[in-house]
Symmetry: C2
Subunit: 250 residues, 2 copies
């Protein structure tokens, strides 16, 4: 039999933000693979096997799921959207490097709400015009390339979202990133730290590039950097709205 | 009374891709505002007023919804994600320019699946590493800025998604964009046209930057441009997988 692998985006981590199609794909799977904490978010079902794995073993996890999917219907869970710094690329890489039979497995990616768009929604529209998403992890790419991308994006006026800003293994990268951005952008450029966005322990801070302290971020944080045009609208009884205007003067 | 405005992302246009929270917000609204074709996607409810409006009147539409929201619970629908080239920025702009009372309206943005991530999901992971999103509309920004951003993004190795690639009022922009990208990227760089993605009339084409024909796009198309590293994996009985690797050699 030719199997099937559903790669399912769980979004920020609140059940009401998982699409009905994603939930249905999880319900239909004989087995589910994924990073432990993401797997723990999936409602328990009798007779459904679960294979939690550690962080930072994406390729091994992808191979294990593909091996099982060759003869069954299997799901792989991903935080946010599987296509944004998550499991879909690792599965594709495993297929390309793997046995020919894996190219016969039906692979269905179920999109989800990625961290930067959840954070943007909580603020208004800080990514309301041209923007980019950059991972600060230098596990898989050289750090100078990260700095090159930051400078290029800031120089061309993109708003941006920084994924994987900091971790025990990556203590200095966010500080260096702020340094690279300060060389290009005004100190007043809005910077937003969004931790555990749209979950019970959500914490959001709005500051400026000049004042941004890397220590305010952790592994569960997404950082948004505005542009020189990004606006912060104060509201007397509500949190500020932050948006990047749709228009740019000629 | 202090009102509320829910700005709701409808995703690509398939009901199973609307989050449960977005659906609940639509069900709870006394009135719904939005571009006609998006409004038509929302299930009809007795006693709920509907205010469809034309395309390209975002700011007027935002003002009308805010005026109503000052004394009632109102929803505004948006295709895809409201924060990505959609209604959230227009609402924020209207709040900033509008009467002080509008700063007392609770504004809740419900994220949705934006076009580039729906298209990426159908292919594998073409936005699997650092990427950006660029609108080719030069209604609100000067065209040279668009070309500057395209060149900066391509030069720094970002994958990218092009929104609003073409329309009757914007016939030449996509061709010019391909020209700007050809000056920087190899002709073999994968280019994907995704029309009406995840809807009944979906049509997806995988080609290369060298061969890409702007006439293959229309108003309902999102275009993804890979990087020099983006891979296309042929599969005998299934459509190809397209992904941008997570790693870059030092």
């Amino acid at each position: 039999m030719s199997g099937r692998l559903d790669i399912v985006g769980l979004g920020p981590g609140r059940e009401g933000l998982v699409t009905p199609e994603a939930s249905a794909a999880l319900a239909a799977a004989a087995a589910i693979y994924g990073y432990g904490p993401y797997l723990a978010r999936v409602p328990w079902r009798e007779g459904q096997a679960r294979h939690p794995s550690d962080n930072r073993v994406e390729l091994d996890r992808a191979r294990a799921a593909l091996e099982a999917a060759a003869q069954d219907r299997v799901a792989m869970v991903s935080g946010g959207d599987p296509g944004v710094f998550a499991m879909a690329a690792a599965v594709c890489e495993a297929v390309e490097q793997g046995p020919q039979a894996w190219r016969g497995i039906e692979i269905v990616v179920h999109p989800g709400i990625t961290a930067m768009l959840a954070l943007a929604a909580r603020l208004g529209a800080p990514l309301g015009h041209d923007f980019c998403a950059i991972s600060l992890s230098d596990n898989l790419k050289p750090w100078p390339l990260v700095e090159k991308r930051l400078a290029a994006a800031a120089g061309a006026g993109f708003a941006m979202a920084l994924y994987n800003p900091i971790s025990r293994a990556r203590p200095w990268q966010l500080g260096r990133a702020f340094g690279a951005l300060r060389a290009v952008l005004p100190a007043a450029t809005p910077v937003i730290f969004g931790r555990a966005v749209m979950r019970a322990e959500e914490h959001i801070e709005i500051t400026t590039l000049g004042a941004a302290d890397p220590a305010r971020a952790d592994m569960a944080t997404c950082v948004i950097i505005g542009t020189a045009e990004t606006r912060v609208i104060a509201r007397p009884a509500l949190p500020p709205l932050v948006y990047t205007p749709r228009s740019m003067p000629a």
